[in-house]
């Protein structure tokens, strides 16, 4: 509370909050003004305030961010602000997702699954493939693929 500032027209006047949350600006001429609130950790929309020249004491206010009119001059933060990025907690998934984890995973897959794949192949198919390879001289990946 004690670190909240209320600023009029981009810092022309600065005031502070009372314990009950009220604030006031004195000797403000009639016209259109802008009130901003500076509070660490909260986002306040600036407020457009029209002070009427014809009927003294008449004041109109509207939030400038969403053009919402205010029936009472009560300022509320639009949202809380989190200044620090939340550091991702350590998890086994993030480890696996990291490039190094993927590398390890791929290597394991190649090392253990490939021989299995070869084993499960039909012996005839295998032979045919080997023949093809021999006949072509250069083994090509496309020839191994079915269809």
């Amino acid at each position: 509370m004690s670190n909240v500032k209320v600023l009029l027209n981009g810092g022309q006047n600065i005031t502070f909050l009372r314990p009950d949350g009220y604030f006031s600006f004195h000797n403000i001429p009639a016209g259109t003004h802008l009130i901003e609130v500076s509070a660490i950790g909260y986002f306040f929309s600036p407020v457009r305030v029209d002070v009427s020249a014809r009927n003294p004491g008449k004041v109109q206010a509207a939030l400038t961010e969403n053009r919402k009119g205010l029936s009472e001059l009560v300022l509320e933060p639009l949202r809380e602000e989190q200044y620090y990025e939340i550091r991702e907690p350590f998890s086994i998934m993030s480890l696996l997702k990291s490039p190094m984890g993927l590398m390890v995973g791929f290597m394991l897959a190649v090392a253990f699954l490939m021989p299995k794949l070869v084993e499960n192949m039909d012996p005839e198919e295998m032979r045919r493939a080997q023949e093809e390879m021999r006949s072509q001289g250069v083994p090509s990946l496309s020839s191994l693929l079915p269809g």
Partner: protein
């Protein structure tokens, strides 16, 4: 890194609370009100008041409220002493301007409430201390009445208001403090008139000086009757020279006067008789009186001797008896003592002890107690005028073998410990050892250059005329130096520090020289007073030399040429538009002569609304032959019509900015050439009516015009009008774009606009065949008089906050994408990606544009809380943001200064060229170990399998 300051202390009040921590409440010239811990000098709380809300007086009421009077006596506020929460605020009005007085009488009470007596704007108010209600008020409307003192004698219900009327009449009003009723009004006239201040020597006697400053008037108004005595100063001091002034002080029975040479303390005896008690030629400072018992008052007096200051505490009625006499060694870099505040405490043996708070010439604040400096605060850093940076020395490689061996062992031990630490095997003792080692060797705070260029010295010039070097690693002060050229002297009455320039930045062949900076000073407020240059070594802080110039300094132009010792050539323009070359060496002159025709500059006369371009003409034609002085000629001028336009902002590119590529590849494989020129100037003008505050004009009578001007030819390359908009305008120029912030009156929101400028004349060169066949126009002569073919693109967006400052990140090679740094009204610094301010944003970008990184158009700029570079901190009173490139391309160093200082490193496109701080080395190690293990296991497995195959 964040450092909090308060500024030069104007007034200090000690809290008299017995219980709890001892505090002192201070108000400062930076318009801060703060509560400090008296033991350590730390800040408990503080508030920065508005710029128009200058604090005039502070005091403590009822022991728990801090009362401040501000805004020329029209706002009275009360703050809770323990936590700084505002309790109440009252607005005080009055018929006319006058002197201000804030009295907090301790024994003037209504019921349980204390009463504050405030005299402001020609009106006397009595105000309740608890809720700020005005109990009564009384006007002093007599035309020429000027109040001089408001006195509330303790133990009575009376208030005396004394002052002068029509400059020769002394007036005294006696007022009932309970209800404001006027009890008595007396006046007496003095034919000789009055001058200056009056000094109060008792509750019913004042001392004044006559209009010639040579006769002392002792006026007493006991029981409402005015009686007076005249004493010529020459009767008291034989050799007094020139008119005297009264030093304001409130010690009863004694006052001080000062002439040019001497300061004299005079005691007032009964019946207005005066007696000189001491005469001194030293520089002195006197504190206000402190009542230590019913009828005793003490005050502190500080006198300078060469390298020490002598502190004496005396009783008011007994000059010769000293309560305390101490000498304290004082660093002469702090200059003279400007202010003294005294406070007492009761020692364990029930005698009185005294502590004094002193404010020095360099704005620092020190607490002295028992002949020692208990703590000190470098509050000069709250008012920085200019900042530059300097590299640190290069690490020397000549280390002996023994040292290397020792270092190797240490190094191994350190790394073993660190390894243990990262693998979480370290015992608590090991952890402590790691901590201490980190602090000791602390990479960050070393005094040598680092590979990444993160460690630098920030050289800052403060308003007090002191130069500080701050280490970017930990923010400590490496050296500080009070410039003697900025010291008041006969030739230079009121020196003002203006700017810092990099004078010598050695690299390549001039490595042995230390880098140095140039400090430009002016001897007075007007621009035609002579200037002073001083050159300061940035490694040691020594002032290498200083030059008193015989001409004024209106403009300083660092030229892009250096001599053989890497000293940069500077051109100084004086008030008569003569250009002077520095350094004054023949080598510099020969370099300069070679480039004579290529030097252009411009000047802005914002009063007359004229921007002029200049070039050099010939040598000076004065009587005295000076080969370093040159006549100049005007090349062009742009005159803005004064009835419709007023210059509010001018911005150019930073001189040292690096642009990586001139071409920009757009989505459809097309190339656009950036129009990159060092000579582009952005000028913003507003309607004269709209130059006031927000809300003072209607949208119809206010407009803002933005120009891009070539400063060599004076040609206006682009002009755009924003109807219904007004200032203040904050702008930043970089590469081929300018971003500016202003207020849109129609939408009643702030707006930011971007203008990008592209070179159209080179657009034809895209065809490779043309280049090969030599049909390109790269070699065709470009003339100043042919209109450059440029196109501009611009776009505007809403932005939520008011701005105080704007800057753009700069990196070593200019490859990294840019971020705008916006100093918001809440004293935070927000980083905003330049991609949000791209005039090619559309509502529905095509697939190709999306791939290029164009963000869909929105009407307002997003504020992402995570991109506040200051996080949850405030740079109180933010004034400027400075960015410096590090050697690492991805990183830029950001320094924000105001009353507080803030420094950080930023990586606008993340740190793509180095590992982040939170990179897990343990994970890397584990992965490597796991891979090696896997290799072994698979090797064994395959071997076994091979064996089986063979056996089969």
């Amino acid at each position: 890194r964040h450092q909090q300051y308060i500024g030069k202390v104007k007034q200090a009040v000690f809290s008299s609370q017995r219980a709890g921590r001892k505090r002192v409440v201070v108000s400062t010239e930076e318009n801060v009100i703060a509560s400090l811990d008296l033991r350590h000098g730390e800040i408990f709380w503080r508030h920065l008041l508005g710029a128009d809300d200058v604090i005039d007086g502070i005091d403590i009421g009822l022991g728990k409220y801090v009362i401040t009077l501000s805004s020329g006596g029209s706002i009275l506020r009360s703050w809770n002493l323990p936590d700084g929460q505002m309790v109440w605020e009252s607005s005080l009005q009055g018929p006319k301007h006058s002197k201000l007085f804030l009295l907090v009488p301790t024994n003037l009470k209504f019921d349980k409430d204390n009463v504050l007596v405030v005299f402001s704007n020609g009106r006397l108010h009595a105000i309740s201390c608890i809720d700020g209600e005005v109990l009564w008020k009384k006007d002093f409307e007599a035309e020429s009445f000027e109040v001089q003192q408001v006195i509330q004698p303790p133990g009575s219900d009376l208030i005396y208001v004394v002052g002068f009327a029509a400059s020769y009449q002394f007036e005294m009003y006696q007022i009932n403090a309970k209800n404001g009723e006027l009890l008595k009004h007396e006046s007496a006239s003095f034919s000789s008139g009055f001058s200056g201040e009056v000094s109060l020597v008792s509750t019913e006697t004042v001392v004044a000086l006559d209009s010639t400053g040579s006769i002392l008037l002792t006026i007493s108004f006991q029981d409402g009757k005015i009686s007076s005595q005249q004493t010529p100063i020459s009767n008291l001091v034989e050799d007094s020279l020139g008119p005297a002034v009264i030093i304001p002080s409130s010690v009863s029975g004694i006052f001080a006067i000062k002439t040019d040479a001497v300061a004299v303390f005079i005691r007032v005896m009964g019946e207005g008789k005066l007696e000189v008690v001491e005469k001194t030629t030293h520089e002195i400072a006197v504190s206000d009186a402190l009542s230590i018992s019913e009828d005793q008052q003490a005050f502190a007096l500080i006198q300078h001797a060469s390298s020490e200051i002598h502190l004496t505490v005396k009783l008011a009625h007994d000059w010769d008896g000293n309560l305390l006499k101490e000498s304290v060694k004082m660093d002469w870099q702090r200059g003279l003592v400007h202010k003294v505040f005294i406070n007492n405490y009761i020692r364990t043996d029930r005698s009185y002890g005294f502590r004094v708070l002193i404010v020095m010439e360099d704005h620092s604040l020190l607490l002295l107690q028992q002949g020692e400096i208990v703590w000190s605060r470098e509050d000069g850093l709250a008012s920085i005028i200019d900042v530059t940076t300097s590299e640190l020395p290069v690490e020397r490689n000549g280390v002996s073998v023994a040292k290397v061996e020792h270092n190797l062992f240490e190094w191994l031990k350190g790394h073993m410990l660190k390894l243990k630490g990262t693998l979480m095997l370290a015992s608590p003792e090991d952890m402590a050892a790691i901590q201490s080692m980190r602090l000791k060797s602390s990479e960050k705070s070393k005094m040598t250059r680092d590979h990444n260029g993160f460690r630098k010295l920030l050289i800052v010039l403060t308003r007090a005329g002191k130069l500080f070097a701050l280490h970017t690693g930990d923010g400590r002060i490496v050296w500080s130096h009070l410039l003697w050229s900025l010291h008041k002297s006969e030739a230079c009455q009121s020196p003002i520090g203006l700017n810092l320039y990099q004078w010598q930045v050695p690299h390549h062949h001039a490595m042995d020289e230390n880098p140095s900076v140039l400090v430009v000073t002016r001897c007075g407020p007007s621009s035609d007073t002579p200037g002073v240059l001083s050159f300061v070594d940035t490694y040691t802080g020594k002032e290498l030399s200083s030059l008193s110039l015989d001409h004024a300094v209106v403009q300083v132009i660092p030229l892009p040429y250096t001599d053989s010792t890497e000293q940069r050539l500077h051109l100084l323009i004086n008030a008569d538009k003569h250009a002077h070359l520095y350094p004054k060496t023949s080598e510099a002159l020969s370099i300069f002569k070679r480039e004579f025709l290529n030097i252009y500059w411009y000047s802005v006369e914002d009063q007359n609304g004229i921007i002029k371009g200049h070039a050099l003409k010939c040598k000076c034609t004065g009587e005295v032959a000076d080969e370093f002085c040159f006549d100049t000629r005007d090349l062009w001028s742009v005159v803005f019509p004064s009835e419709s336009e007023k210059i509010v902002a001018t911005v150019t590119r930073k001189l040292n900015e690096v642009v990586h590529t001139q071409a920009k590849v757009v989505a459809d494989q097309d190339v656009m050439y950036k129009y990159i020129s060092r000579n582009l100037l952005f000028v913003a003008t507003v309607a004269p009516k709209g130059s006031g505050e927000i809300g003072s004009v209607t949208p119809e009578e206010s407009w803002l015009v933005a120009y891009l001007i070539d400063t060599v030819t004076g040609r206006i390359l682009h002009r755009v009008t924003h109807h219904g908009s007004q200032g203040p305008v904050h702008a930043v120029f970089s590469e081929n774009w300018v971003v500016y912030h202003y207020f849109n009156l129609r939408a009643h929101r702030y707006e930011m606009s971007v203008i990008e400028i592209y070179d159209q004349s080179r657009a034809d060169n895209k065809d490779v065949w043309k280049l090969v066949l030599g049909k390109h126009n790269l070699t065709s002569p470009t003339s100043l008089f042919s209109r450059p073919e440029v196109i501009t693109k611009s776009q505007s967006y809403f932005f939520t906050h008011s701005l105080k400052a704007i800057a753009v990140t700069s990196t070593a090679k200019g490859i990294t994408s840019k971020q705008l740094l916006l100093g918001t009204i809440g004293d935070q610094v927000l980083a905003l990606d330049k991609r949000f301010l791209d005039p090619r944003r559309t509502v529905n970008p095509t697939q190709a544009e999306k791939e290029e990184g164009i963000i869909p158009l929105t009407d307002s700029l997003p504020i992402i809380p995570q991109s506040y570079v200051t996080h949850a901190l405030r740079v109180e009173g933010l004034r400027g943001i400075i960015t410096v490139p590090a050697k690492l391309e991805s990183t830029t160093l950001v320094f924000a200064h105001g009353v507080d200082l803030f420094f950080t490193q930023l990586a606008p496109s993340r740190t793509y060229d180095s590992l982040t701080e939170d990179f897990s080395y343990a994970l890397l190690l584990i992965t490597i170990v796991a891979l090696v293990a896997a290799i072994f296991v698979t090797w064994r497995l395959s071997e076994r399998k091979e064996l089986q195959e063979k056996w089969r």
